[in-house]
Symmetry: C2
């Protein structure tokens, strides 16, 4: 190559905690990035809401603009990095960029989980790339391994701790024995939870990530609305204590599972809920706000990917990794793998999902109670793995762990228990994961 | 695309435990692989040493050949999968395949660590791909994350448990308190160690993998011969016990590190040796024959990749993942990232590597001993972090943990201690990793 290589021009949409780290790293690592791509990368512009807002990085005034649409449709922009988040205007901007033929790198889990197929189609039609490693589990390389490293294998299960806020809260509840409200307040004080924590604690954030993970793992379209979702707001100190007594720990898990169906083809279950996992499981050792994704594949066996799930610099690292790939693809005139939805598997409703339950029941302390409770499980065809009787008199309690059954059978069993006169209260119901069925 | 897509033709070299799994999975997953690549993949032939040897998979007789060279130079072969291992004939066959323009997927760590640059150059000249995810840590996707996901970041350290045999042995020594020879015999009986365990226990296998990891992490050529290497044969039950008393555990680590140098540019240290790590470190929880690679990067922070490090099916999974990528590249007429050695960093000799030591010393039980030992450390400019006095009389012992110093300073200190009359024996010297310096 005798001629100097033309620089690739990058537009950044958003300059908050992630965007400012992207801008900083683009400048700081310019030499390395050029060596790794084979061409220099230039910042073409940064779209912001307010030119004069305080930000963590110095951006030359000439590069700042409030006209995001104008920026992404400029003919000299090769690659657009979208770190605004949310549905609009992010969607319109990404579609406009792709329509013009620019490639896009985004961290926008909500948008991908709501409208991924439309974005992939736009990228495909334009012959451009759409990369999004940063959308799930921050800096942890998990999407590329699923999309590429495991492309010759059959992924059967993904269990992810993909929300740092809820992991921080559940981990503190476990180590401090404190209640939910108190621990949430502590997390808010320390900056691990937002003033309005809904997106995290109700599982919306994890559900969007579960949809993305399931789509890639099972080559099937899954959107956030397809994901069964329970948050951690109902988790009590008693639940955490019960888990501890079973040598287990409670985690908010994003669970994506391939399930054989009676009729033939495997179906897909995607759900987010708190679950008990044994302390010996690799995910149990994921503390604080860290994230981890545990993957089971037919040939590869059990893999785990662990690291920081959020934060400006880690997220920017994932974005720049995508940027290098997308830039190389542009230089060679190719595209990376697009949407892969060929398997088009059926999505199982939660009721048909197969799980195990751990149930604590306050009962009358008299003969025949265990038999009556066992009969209630049997009536709904739920087989019991263990039952433990605890306390005496007013504190009498039965702790039942079921074998695998459908979620519908199990919830019917719990409803039935609540109707029984010998049952004072069903005080804890938890799903169990990470054990053989 | 109106015309049917021409199948990609794959030759497999070797049909042992990995090769037979590759052949099996190519057949079993043919439909999925075709959907993921966009073209069918056909087995063109399997090169074996003996046509009639018993093998784990049925290969049509017409596809078996003892003429490996003839197979890789056939004009209809698009991709060659090399799972023979060792230097020759693997090197000659790979070079012949690349020279013809075929892309190559290999699991051959020894060859890559000895002669990687020549192979990369051959691939580059031919416009073909050379992929090798399976060469390090079996099914764990670690090379692709290093080559691609972290391509926008600065990797500063890689700590890997990359040899299952030695991890199995050290883990058993830790949990059973048994000695090395006894545990090795047990590992051999269970099939975790070979009859001649040299390649594993002396660290040759880990050193080859360390060279590959360091090359990718630091964009610098590192060959197996550049790697400082100590195996586990000298590890005693007393070492394991000392580690346990420090709430630590001994692991054979592949350590790849970027070290700032007084003069300016960072240099690279690559070494394999047993090291004490705190039990709270994520690598400490890697048990049995599992592998894990812990990565520190400037922006991403601390990441860990965990999974099975060996075995026919896991290794075949990694190979097929590469196959899908290489096949897609052939269809689009492009190549994945080739060798990246632009940084060309200096390699530090072991003596200049900065480490910490944990030293147990049998000493006279009399006043002034601690002062004399401390003076020996000071004489070599090694600062002491903690010193603990244990036992009385004939059992008197000092346990010293140093601050970071060069390996040369530390080994001079130990030699000095051995000369001192008040020192009966230096009975355990271990390097310490996974802690702040």
């Amino acid at each position: 190559m005798a001629e100097p290589v033309k620089p690739l021009r990058v537009a950044v949409l958003g300059c908050g905690s992630v965007g400012s780290q992207v801008v900083r790293l683009l400048a700081k690592s310019a030499t390395d990035i050029e060596a790794r791509i084979g061409a220099p990368v230039e910042l073409a512009g940064v779209a912001v809401r307010r030119i004069d807002a305080p930000r963590e990085v110095d951006v030359p005034a000439a590069l700042l603009t409030t006209d995001a649409y104008g920026l992404v449709t400029r003919p000299d922009v090769d690659i657009v990095i979208e770190v605004i988040g949310g549905i609009e205007p992010a969607r319109g901007l990404i579609l406009a960029a792709l329509a013009r033929g620019a490639s896009v790198v985004t961290a926008n889990k909500a948008l991908l989980a709501e409208d991924g197929p439309a974005l992939f189609q736009a990228a495909d039609e334009a012959g451009a790339d759409l990369y999004f490693e940063a959308a799930v589990a921050g800096a942890i390389p998990i999407l590329r391994p699923l999309r590429e490293s495991l492309a010759g294998d059959v992924v059967t299960k993904v269990l992810g701790i993909v929300n740092g806020t809820t992991n921080f809260i559940l981990d503190k509840m476990d180590t401090q024995g404190a209640g939910y409200a108190e621990t949430l307040a502590q997390a808010q004080e320390l900056g691990y939870a937002e003033a309005d924590p809904t997106a995290d604690v109700e599982g919306f954030d994890a559900a969007a990530k579960a949809a993305i993970l399931a789509s890639l793992a099972f080559h099937t379209r899954v959107s956030a609305g397809d994901v069964y979702r329970e948050g951690i707001a109902e988790v009590t100190a008693a639940d955490v204590k019960s888990a501890r007594e079973m040598d287990s720990v409670l985690k908010l898990l994003a669970i994506c599972e391939l399930r054989p169906q009676p009729g033939g083809e495997d179906a897909v279950s995607v759900r987010v809920h708190p679950a008990m996992i044994p302390r010996s499981h690799p995910l149990a050792a994921v503390h604080g706000a860290f994230n981890a994704v545990f993957v089971e594949a037919e040939s590869a066996g059990q893999l785990m990917f662990y690291g920081p799930g959020a934060g400006g610099a880690p997220t920017a690292s994932a974005i720049l990794g995508d940027l290098v790939t997308v830039a190389r693809n542009r230089l060679t005139g190719t595209q990376g793998p697009g949407e892969s939805a060929y398997a088009d598997r059926e999505l199982l409703p939660m009721g048909e999902t197969v799980t195990r339950y751990h149930v604590s029941i306050d009962v009358d302390d008299k003969a025949g109670v265990l038999a009556a409770v066992a009969a209630a499980f049997a009536e709904h065809d739920v087989s019991i793995q263990t039952v433990r009787q605890e306390g005496r008199g007013a504190d009498a309690q039965l702790v039942v762990v079921s074998h695998a059954a459908t979620d519908a059978q199990l919830s019917a069993t719990v409803a039935h228990l609540r109707e029984m006169s010998i049952v004072h209260d069903v005080n804890s119901v938890m799903r169990v994961e990470g054990v053989e069925e």
